[in-house]
Amino acid sequence: MIDTKEFLPDVREVERIIVRFAGDSGDGMQLTGDRFTSASALFGNDLATLPEFPAEIRAPAGTLAGVSAFQVHISDHDITTPGDAPNVLVTMNPAAMMAELPRLESGGTVIANSDAFNQRNLAKAGYQTNPLEDGSLDGYTLISAPMTDLTTQVCKDLGVKPRDAQRSKNFFALGLVSWLFSRPTYPTLQWIREKFAGKDAIIAANEAAFKAGHAFGETAELSASRLAVRPARFDPGTYTNINGNTALSWGLIAASQKADIPIFLGSYPITPASDILHELAKHKNFGVRTLQAEDEIAAIGAALGASYGGHLGVTTTSGPGLALKGETLGLAVSLELPLVVIDIQRGGPSTGLPTKTEAADLLMAHYGRHGEAPLPIVAANSPSDCFAAAFEAVRIAVRYRTPVILLSDGYLANGTEPWRLPQIADLPNISADFATSPNALNEDGEEVFWPYMRNNDLARPWAVPGTAGLMHRIGGIEKEDGTGNISYDPENHQRMVTIRDARIKKIADSYPPTTIEGDLDADLLVVSWGSTWGAITSAVGRMRRSGQKVARVHLTNIYPLPNDLGGILRGYQRVVVPEMNLGQLSKILRAEYLVDARPISKVEGQPFTAAELHHNLLEMNR
C-alpha cells in the first residue's frame, strides 16, 4: 500500500474515475491501460477493467477498424464493473476520437495527441475538419498535447532514433494521465526497467517519455483538472490484480493440487481462450501437461484419454470450438469420466465477433449434443471468480465422474480486478478416489470388477489402467447397467438414460442454499448468470439506494439448477433475466419452472453497463 502523502492541496478528490485509453492497434493502448491499472492497484484502489481490441492484429493504421481501447474504473469503494461512461478519454489519433467520443460523459475530459490529428489521419477517420480546432469539443475539457513531437524531442539527446522514439509516445500519455490522477510513478518506472532489461535505449526512451508526460501536466497549468481517488477499503489480506483467464488457470492448478491429480490440457488456439493454454504451459513444475492439438476435436479427445488414464483432463475453447467438441462430449457423457470443458464465449455465430464478449453459448452447453446427454454447467461471474468457478467445475467433474462445461466470456477473460489471495489451507479437498479392488461377484462367485456399479452419488468407479484385477472394456456403445458390457437391450437403454439424467440432477444436492440478495419482500427478482453479475450488482445497488425494492439471485451452477430455485422464483411477482444473448437462461427457467421470466438482452459485443441495466430494471419495476 502506498501512503497518501502524495495528495496535494490543489488536487480535487473524487470517489471514482473511469478512464478510457484509445488509439491505433499499434499505439500500445492495452499496455498503457494495463500499466495505469497496475499503478492504481498498488495504490490500493478498487478497480475493474475492460480491454477492447479489434480482431485484426494490425488493421490499417489510422482507420476506425484499427481502434484499440482499454477502459479502467478506479474507485475508493467496492466496484463491480469497468464503469459506464468514461470521465476521461485519451485519444491517440482521430480514428480513436471518432470511434470513442460518443461514449464519453458529457462535460468529460478529452486528452488528445495533437500530432496525430493531421490532414491524412483526419480524412481516414472521416473528419472534414480538425475536432481539436473546430470547436466541436467545446462541451468537454480538452487537453491537447503534441505527444509525438515532445517525445521525439526528449529522446533526441538519448541517441534514440526518431522512429523508435515515436513508439514511446504512449508512455507520454501514461505519464500525463498518471500526473492528472495523482498515480504514483515508481511502479511504472520500475516496470519499464524490468520489462526492457538489457535494452537500454528503449528503457531510456520510455522513461523519458513518461517523465515528459508527467512534467507536461505540471507545467501546462492543468491543475484544475487534477483529480485523486483514495485507496478503497478492502478486507485485510494479500491482493493481486488478476484477469479471468489467469484466475481460471490458477483455479485449475489449485484444484488439481487439492485432488492430487495432474492437469492434462488439450487445447487448440482460439480467441479469447488461448491465454489459458499459455498460462498453464508456464506451470509445468506443477506436473501440468499441455498439448496444442491439431484441432478442437483432438484437443478434447486427448484430454478425455488422459482422464481415462487418471489425470484431470481439461480442454479450453470458445463457441466454434465447443461445437466441434460436441461428439466427444457425448462419448464423455457415456464413459462417465471426469473432464472439464471451458468455453470462453465470444460474439457468434461462426467467427462472429471473436474479440468481443457475448454469452450466447448457454443453450449449446445445455442441449447441444446428440441423444440425451446431460452434463453439469458452471459459470464464472467476475474475473477473480473464475478461480472459484474453475475449482467448482473440477470438484463436480471428479466427484461425480462427469464432463463439466465451465462458461466464462471475453469480458471476464481479459478484464481485471483485485483478488484477495485465498488461504491455501481453506481450499476444499477433492478426492479422486480411484478404484483399487473388485466390486462384484460373478455367477461363479468370483470377485470381478464391474465398471458401471455406482456409489451413493450414482457415480461409477474410476478404475485407471495399470490397476491389476480391474481390467475392463468400455466405449460409446450402450452399456449394461452394472457390468458395463455392450447391451442393445431396450429396457436397459431406458434405464441407463434415466440413470444418466438422475445422476447429473443429483449434483444439486451438493450446492449450498441459494443466496437471495437485496429485499426479500420485493416484487421484482433479478436472476442472472455469468459476467452480468457486476453490472447487475451495481444497478441493483443504485435502485435500492433510491428507495426501490428489488431482490436478486445470481447462479453459479446453471445445470443442474439449485433445488431451491423454483420456490424462490415463485415467490416474486416479476422475474427478469438480464443476459448477453436473446434470453437463453430465461427460456430455461420458463421451461423448468413455468414462471414468466422476462429477458433483458444485450448482444452488442460489450457488457451491460450498470446505467443501462438500472434504466431497464426501473422500467420493469413500474
Binding site: 494479500t238 490484480n241 488414464g309 457425448g330 491389476a468
Partner: protein, 341 residues
C-alpha cells in the same frame, strides 16, 4: 500411477482372451489378426493391466472388447487423438490403437498424421480391407479407382491413399505392412512395432469376405506369395520369387523390380530400415500401386527419433528441477501483490 514399466508377467493366450463373444462375420480376416495378437502378448512379458487397446468406430474397432486388457472403444476417427492423451499421461502403459481404413484414413486422417509426426509412443494397427464394412459396403479412401459399391454405382472416382506413403509422409518413425493370411509374419511385425519407441504404424492387409472378398488374394494366397510379396529384411538385398530370381533396384530414386540374372545381386537395393532419410522407404512404398503387382511387406522403416511423451515428461522434470515442485503460495504471489491490514 507411477511411470514404472513392468515387464515381468508370465501369461498364456487364454489370459489375454476376454469373456466377450467375438461378433465379426464368420471368415473375417480380423479373427486371424486377433489370434496373432493374443499369441504375441504372452511372449512380450508385459502385464495385461498395463496394456490398453484404444479404437474408433468400424469392424476393426471392436478389437478391444476381445482382449483381456483395459480397452477403450471411442468414436469414429478419434482414437489416435484419445490415445495420444492417454499415452502422454501414462508412459507406464502400452497403448495400442486399432482401426480400419475408413476410421484412420478418412474421418480420422488428421489425427493419424499428427500422432505419427509427434511420435507419441503408440502402436497403431491399420486394418486395411479397402471397404466400409460396418456401414455395409461403401468405398473407402483406399478403394481402387473405379470401385463399384452402393455409393458408387458407376465406379468410384477418388484416387486412393497408399497408407504406407501417407505414414512416411507424416514423418512416422516406424512403418510396416503385413497381411492376415500369415500369422507368423503378423506376429513378428506386431512384436517389432510393440518394441519400437515412438509411434509405430502397421498396415494389415485384411480380407472383408462379405463386402470386398479376395481384395488381396492375388498377393496373399499361399501359392502367390513367393512371387507377389517382397519381404523387406534389414541389411539384406531386396529380392523375392520362388527361387529368389527377382529383386528391387533403386533407379535414380525410383524403385523398380528387376530380374536378378539381368542386373546381378550386387546391383540390388540393400534394405536399411534405420535410414533417417525416409525417401528410400517412400520409393519402396510406391513400388506397387495396385493389388496385382509385387508388393513389399515387412518393416519399411524403424527410425530412432525423439519420443513425444517422454520429451514432455522431461520438460516437466526440468521445470521441477529448476523451480521446485509447484507451490500454490508462490503461484498466487507471482503477479505484483499488495497487503491490506
Amino acid at each position: 500411477m507411477t511411470n514404472t514399466i513392468h515387464t515381468t508377467a508370465v501369461t498364456t493366450k487364454k489370459d489375454w482372451t476376454s469373456d466377450q463373444e467375438v461378433r465379426w462375420c464368420p471368415g473375417c480376416g480380423d479373427y486371424s489378426i486377433l489370434t496373432a495378437m493374443q499369441l504375441l502378448m504372452p511372449e512380450t512379458g508385459v502385464r495385461r493391466e498395463d496394456t490398453v487397446f484404444v479404437s474408433g468406430i468400424g469392424c476393426a474397432a471392436r478389437f478391444p472388447y476381445y482382449m483381456n486388457t483395459y480397452g477403450l472403444h471411442t468414436i469414429h476417427g478419434r482414437s489416435p487423438a484419445i490415445a495420444t492423451g492417454l499415452a502422454m499421461a501414462r508412459r507406464d502403459l502400452h497403448v495400442w490403437v486399432v482401426g480400419g481404413d475408413g476410421d484412420m484414413l478418412s474421418i480420422g486422417g488428421n489425427h493419424l498424421i499428427h500422432a505419427l509426426r509427434r511420435n507419441v509412443d503408440l502402436t497403431i494397427l491399420l486394418f486395411n480391407n479397402q471397404i466400409y464394412g460396418l456401414t455395409k459396403g461403401q468405398y473407402s479412401p483406399t478403394s481402387e479407382v473405379g470401385k463399384v459399391t452402393k455409393s458408387t454405382p458407376l465406379g468410384s472416382l477418388d484416387t486412393p491413399f497408399n497408407p504406407i506413403s501417407v505414414a512416411l509422409g507424416a514423418e512416422a518413425s516406424f512403418v510396416a505392412r503385413t497381411h492376415d493370411m500369415d500369422r507368423a509374419h503378423m506376429q513378428e511385425v506386431f512384436r517389432r512395432a510393440h518394441n519400437h519407441r515412438g509411434a509405430a504404424i502397421v498396415e494389415v492387409y485384411q480380407n472383408c469376405n462379405v463386402f470386398n472378398d479376395g481384395a488381396f488374394a492375388a498377393l496373399t494366397k499361399k501359392d502367390a506369395r513367393a512371387d507377389m510379396l517382397i519381404p523387406l529384411e534389414h541389411g539384406k538385398p531386396v529380392r523375392f520369387g520362388a527361387n529368389q530370381e527377382r529383386g528391387v533396384v533403386l533407379d535414380d530414386g525410383v524403385a523398380r523390380v528387376v530380374s536378378v540374372a539381368d542386373v546381378g545381386v550386387d546391383a540390388l537395393h540393400v534394405h536399411d530400415e534405420t535410414a533417417a532419410d525416409l525417401s528410400v522407404a517412400f520409393a519402396l512404398s510406391r513400388l506397387a500401386d495396385d493389388r496385382s503387382s509385387p508388393t513389399p511387406i515387412g518393416v519399411y522403416c524403424a527410425v530412432d527419433r525423439l519420443e513425444y511423451a517422454g520429451a514432455v515428461d522431461a520438460q516437466i522434470a526440468t521445470a521441477q528441477a529448476d523451480r521446485g515442485p509447484g507451490n500454490l503460495a508462490e503461484l498466487f504471489t507471482s503477479l505484483p501483490t499488495w497487503e491490506v491490514n
